[in-house]
């Protein structure tokens, strides 16, 4: 028998739709040392299982992991590539953080990222034909706006369906992932295809002034990584220093109590969903404006799911997510080197990612026990 909770409303079963009212570890008031130890434990377990898989496919795990590490952080160029890959992951993870903190299960980052890329591309192409002399100081904010608005708007469909018709957002957002990826395919093979691209599925280049500056000469590192870190700080400020953020976290912790406290729960849920989608849209924007300068078919190697995993590993804290995003950017970059060195499938990385986060989720039970 436990002591009765301070808030009697919290003890009642939640009269909510399928998607609500789950008490989650990060909704606890404090985070102890073990909260930081868990992701590290998960890391060890995941790489342990990964080692078994490597050995099973006839590779020496030590050699493989050495190649993985070298590929991720071994040289200046590799570190730059890791940063490049971490950028969209960080944007997505920030968006997921925003939604999950409100107990809004937005699994649609991949779709919102794709639609954000479409928004940015359309903005960049429109500026190219309408205002070709626009300076970057105006063009880049328009790109950011385009990515954020399109991503947010796309997520808002799932938000409206959840708030108005109580439709499970996990399923709608996943369905919309399929739709968005097909839509980008449609655009790049159809209406947006650049005739000069030799039949390849890609759009024309966006306005030059709308492209994010390269930070290091002759490398792929672009301004997007700075924008992502700025976004992390902004998300932290919004979630913890503003009324809106307080309301979103209160709804996430206990929608019923939040409602009793006078918070407009549906509004918070909707806003969390839209901002979450907008941040994922920025991931697509930064890929278009910073890296490719055009819309490509299948430009994302699963940044959506990587970002979702990163958000969970970073304990849904915008600042703690930054190292987690770097780790995953490194895993994606290093996986190619590892695959070349020991001839294994790069999907081993996906398995390692999944095991890591499942370990963290499962072992929260222990934390609850230890912390009482």
């Amino acid at each position: 028998m436990t002591t009765p909770p301070a808030n009697p409303a919290a003890a009642l079963p939640e009269p909510l739709s399928v998607a609500g009212g789950v008490k989650l570890p990060w909704h606890r008031a404090r985070t102890s040392l073990i909260g930081f130890a868990l992701p590290l434990g998960g890391l060890l377990v995941a790489f342990g299982i990964g080692a078994i898989m490597l050995a099973a496919s006839g590779a020496n795990p030590l050699v493989a992991y050495q190649a993985l590490f070298k590929g991720a952080f071994g040289s200046r160029n590799n570190i730059i590539e890791t940063l490049v890959k971490s950028t969209p992951i960080l944007f997505v993870a920030l968006g997921v953080t925003f939604a999950f903190r409100c107990s809004v299960w937005n699994i649609g980052s991949e779709g919102q990222l794709h639609i954000g890329a479409v928004g940015a591309t359309l903005a960049g192409l429109a500026m190219k034909s309408l205002t070709p002399n626009l300076p970057p100081i105006l063009a880049i904010p328009i790109m950011i706006l385009g990515g954020f608005l399109f991503g947010g708007l796309y997520a808002s469909f799932a938000g409206v369906l959840k708030v108005k018709w109580e439709v499970n957002e996990v399923i709608t957002t996943i369905m919309m992932n399929f739709v968005a990826i097909l839509f980008v395919q449609y655009l790049t093979f159809g209406p947006l295809r650049d005739p000069a691209a030799n039949g390849l599925p890609m759009s024309a280049y966006i306005l030059e002034a709308a492209q994010l500056a390269r930070l290091v000469a002759r490398s792929r590192l672009h301004l997007g990584v700075v924008l992502a870190v700025v976004a992390a700080v902004l998300v932290y400020i919004v979630l913890w220093k503003t009324t809106l953020g307080y309301q979103i976290r209160a709804v996430g912790a206990n929608p019923r109590a939040a409602k009793h406290a006078g918070i407009n729960v549906p509004r918070s849920v909707f806003v969390a969903m839209v901002i979450s989608g907008g941040l994922a849209g920025l991931a697509g924007m930064s890929e278009v404006a910073g890296l490719h300068y055009r819309l490509l078919d299948s430009f994302s190697p699963g940044y959506g799911q990587a970002g979702t995993v990163v958000a969970l590993l970073g304990n849904l804290h915008p600042i703690a997510i930054i190292p987690a995003a770097l780790l995953f950017g490194g895993l994606i970059t290093g996986a190619d080197t590892m695959a070349r060195t020991v001839q294994v499938s790069t999907t081993i990385i996906t398995v390692i990612q999944g095991i890591m986060v499942l370990f963290v989720l499962g072992s929260q039970f222990l934390v609850d026990k230890l912390e009482g």
């Binding site: 009212g21 789950v22 299960w105 109580e166 969970l312 996906t350 999944g354």
Partner: protein, 318 residues
């Protein structure tokens, strides 16, 4: 040809018969996986890992049949493999009370990677994937030769008939047996069920396990009853559709079967339209149809769906 010239052609003669036969075939995996989820969801567990479980069933079903040369050994290995994975889901969400929303999705991500890894490990990266005979269409005397009805209903393979027979079986188990009553009691009000001596955890474990067995069978149908070979991510969102169909069917096996047929029809229709339209109509737009329909259908039913009161809330014994 525009889409409006193609549509009438699809509803004529042999094309239409082929369309309806494909509808039944395409409804089958959705129906099997959905029926299993009626157990899991009725016990209060929203098992979102179905997509991954179907992938496991499809792959291990194929591997089992490929190496033993026996289709039933394949079906069995697909079901068992998926059931083992669903035990992990049960352990994480029932015993450790981790969030069902997140664990299921993460399992799908992990399983997709794991199965792709196994596929490369076992079959290498050849350009021609290995294939197996698969279940052949049955031939019933008289019935199969009937015009129209014969090719649509009586020339399917055995797994299709098993799937549609499972619907009434599940209905009987859920509404006419003590076990079904216990599952529903646990999903409705676990504390009350516990107080009358029902083991809540055991019931939920069993329900999730049955869901896994069914999802494995649904997956095995994809490789052994349909394509005859395994290709990466063969489930293609069917696991998610199956979950949505359970909501659509309001946890009732018969309504679920109707939903599965509706989705089978739309999928069969859009695939034929893709073929007939050729370059004229973008195939991507038609491929979106089942996913869009899923969202529309869920929107229509969700508010009035009701459903197990304790769905998604982990039970804590006090």
């Amino acid at each position: 040809m525009t889409i409006w010239e193609i549509l009438p052609q699809l509803f004529q003669g042999t094309v239409f018969i082929g369309l309806l036969a494909a509808t039944v075939r395409m409804a089958t995996p959705l129906l099997i996986a959905g029926l299993g989820q009626i157990f899991a969801q009725s016990s209060g567990v929203l098992d979102l890992s179905v997509e991954g479980l179907m992938l496991v069933g499809a792959f291990f079903g194929f591997v089992g049949a490929f190496y033993t040369g026996n289709l039933w050994a394949g079906v069995l290995s697909g079901m068992i493999a998926a059931a083992v994975v669903s035990l992990l889901m049960a352990f994480l969400t029932v015993t450790l009370r981790a969030s069902q929303m997140i664990v299921g999705v993460m399992l799908v991500i992990m399983l997709a990677g794991l199965i792709t890894f196994f596929n490369k490990l076992i079959f290498g990266t050849g350009y021609i994937p290995p294939s197996t005979e698969g279940f052949q269409p049955l031939h019933f005397p008289v019935l199969s030769d009937l015009p129209f009805v014969g090719p649509v209903l009586f020339q399917q393979n055995l797994l299709v008939y098993i799937a549609f027979l499972l619907a009434p079986v599940v209905a009987v188990i859920m509404y006419r047996t003590t076990f079904g009553l216990q599952i529903r009691a646990v999903g409705e009000y676990p504390r009350a069920a516990d107080s009358v001596g029902i083991n809540v955890f055991k019931t939920q474990y069993f329900a999730i396990l049955i869901g896994g067995l069914f999802a494995g069978l649904g997956g095995a149908f994809l490789t052994l009853g349909w394509t005859g070979l395994y290709t990466d991510i063969i489930s293609a969102g069917r696991g998610w559709l199956a979950i949505a169909l359970v909501f659509f069917g309001k946890w009732n096996p018969y309504r679920l079967a109707m939903g599965a047929i509706l989705f089978g029809f739309v999928n069969a229709l859009q695939l034929r339209m893709q073929v007939m339209a050729g370059q004229q109509v973008a195939y991507q737009i038609m491929s979106m149809l089942p996913y869009l329909l899923c969202i529309i259908v869920l929107t229509m039913v969700s508010r009035k769906a009701g459903g197990p009161a304790n769905l998604c809330i982990a039970y804590k014994r006090e």
